[in-house]
């Protein structure tokens, strides 16, 4: 299948590959997908608690070129956005930017899920430190 130049670019030169410290109170981690589906994305955001702006974002992805590109693009877009702006990112934006064919649209959906999961995790941590109780957020859990 033919990849768009942008997908190839993100694959050859992925932005923001890596990890942020999971235990940092200002880091939200989203882990979505499943190995059986061939797609697993871990997306992390580091939020400035005073301004609510995402200072840093990192990703790691097990998946095809389009999945890697979608998550790489997501981290690029997240940096500098507020948490609420981040939640407004739609998978359709990713599809448009990367010219994803129909068969790869689900990769962009997973990236959007990863963003939401990372933000939800951050919010959960924030409310826990403030003692307000857990905020609902669905993401993968390792069994203790």
């Amino acid at each position: 299948m033919a990849y768009s130049d942008k997908v190839i670019d993100h694959y050859e030169n992925p932005r923001n590959v890596g990890s942020l410290p999971k235990d940092d109170a200002n880091v939200g981690t989203g882990l979505v997908g499943a190995p059986e589906c061939g797609d697993v994305m871990k997306l992390q955001v580091k939020v400035n608690p005073e301004t609510g702006v995402i200072d840093d974002a990192k990703f790691k992805t097990f998946g095809c070129g389009s999945a890697i590109a979608s998550s790489s693009l997501a981290t690029e877009w997240l940096k500098g956005k507020t948490v609420e702006q981040a939640l407004a990112i739609k998978n359709t934006d990713i599809v448009a930017e990367l010219s994803l064919p129909p068969v790869k649209i689900h990769c962009s959906v997973l990236a959007e899920d990863a963003i939401k999961a990372a933000i939800a995790d951050y919010k959960k941590k924030q409310s826990e430190t403030k003692g307000e109780g857990a905020v609902a957020g669905e993401h993968a859990q390792p069994n203790a």
Binding site: L31, G33, E36, C37, M41, K60, F62, V103, A140
Partner: protein, 404 residues
Amino acid sequence: MKLPIYMDYHATTPVDPRVLEAMLPYFTQHFGNPASRNHAFGWEAEEAVETARKQVADLIGATAKEIIFTSGATEANNLAIKGAAEMYREKGNHVITCVTEHKAVIDTCKKLEKQGARVTYLPVQKDGRISLDELRAAITDKTILITIMTANNEIGVLQPVAEIGAIAKEKGILFHTDAVQAAGKVPFNVNEVKADLVSMSAHKMYGPKGVGALYVRRRNPRVLLAEQINGGGHERGMRSGTLNVPGIVGFGKAAELARTGMADESQRLRGLRDRLNEKLHKNLDEIYVNGSMEHRLPHSLNISFAYVEGESLLMGINDVAVSSGSACTSASLEPSYVLKALGAGDDLAHSSIRFGLGRWTTDEEVDYVVEKLTTVVRRLREMSPLYEMVKEGVDLTKMQWVAH
């Protein structure tokens, strides 16, 4: 060394220049229809076809009269299975096959089921082979056909066809084998295997696409098939239609080259394949060969690279042509059903690469592929959340994933 490198010889093969040379005169000079009985154009075309028929027969230890030419192995599989089911329907309506067969066999069996036949799909063991005990246990008094491929196209594993043939013979059941990947690559004799029907394809043995053959046994027993294509009764009434003379001539030449060169070529390719395998194992950890190494085509290798997805791997080695069992590489988004049948788990199916070496593969190409793959796998593992979790000591099998 030319790029891109072709290492997908299971998918198709280039036509050998000697084959092309043999074919060309039959397009423009000796272009007659072999069914034209009354003039020299027809006679010389017929002679060329009969020469090719003998060449194909010699490859598998058959007689020329037992070779029916078709448009390819898919058609040969259809003819064998549907033709036998129809012809022997008074005897029974049960067919035994295997879960790892090519779609040309599986989909044909599914069609038979829709028409009221019963089909048993035998599972395979971890090494990719069926259990002979399970085969015996599956046989009923309504079983009329066992169809099990000689060598699997995805994992290269060889089934115990001689033993299967013996069981079939003992029970008076017809034995068909899809020998597309095996013919011309490993020795195959219809009498040693006791096969009654054998499918072959030209373009898998350095011949042209669009032509194949079905071996149909004439003695002990004489096998009859209901023709699936009507219209003139060509090929002993089993397959009507004007013969693809240039294609058939090419197939014959390809078969002859395969037979005479097989011993040397298979030894050379086995050496290259083993070199590829050993070097990859030396460079990378957590890589797994899918299926038996012992019972395998000499030029075939299928390896899963844990924690790395197949399509992203292929993107990284974009100057090497191989194929993957990953869902992302299939139009249906389903991972390879052959790898699933081995019980490896979908994640390893998504991480698999199939290597098929061939007549023009060189040491240099193998070494290049090893280097390229090593670099790409390492890079993708650095980007892989699964690899990271494993390094942290997480047991991935205990994870609760949020699938979407």
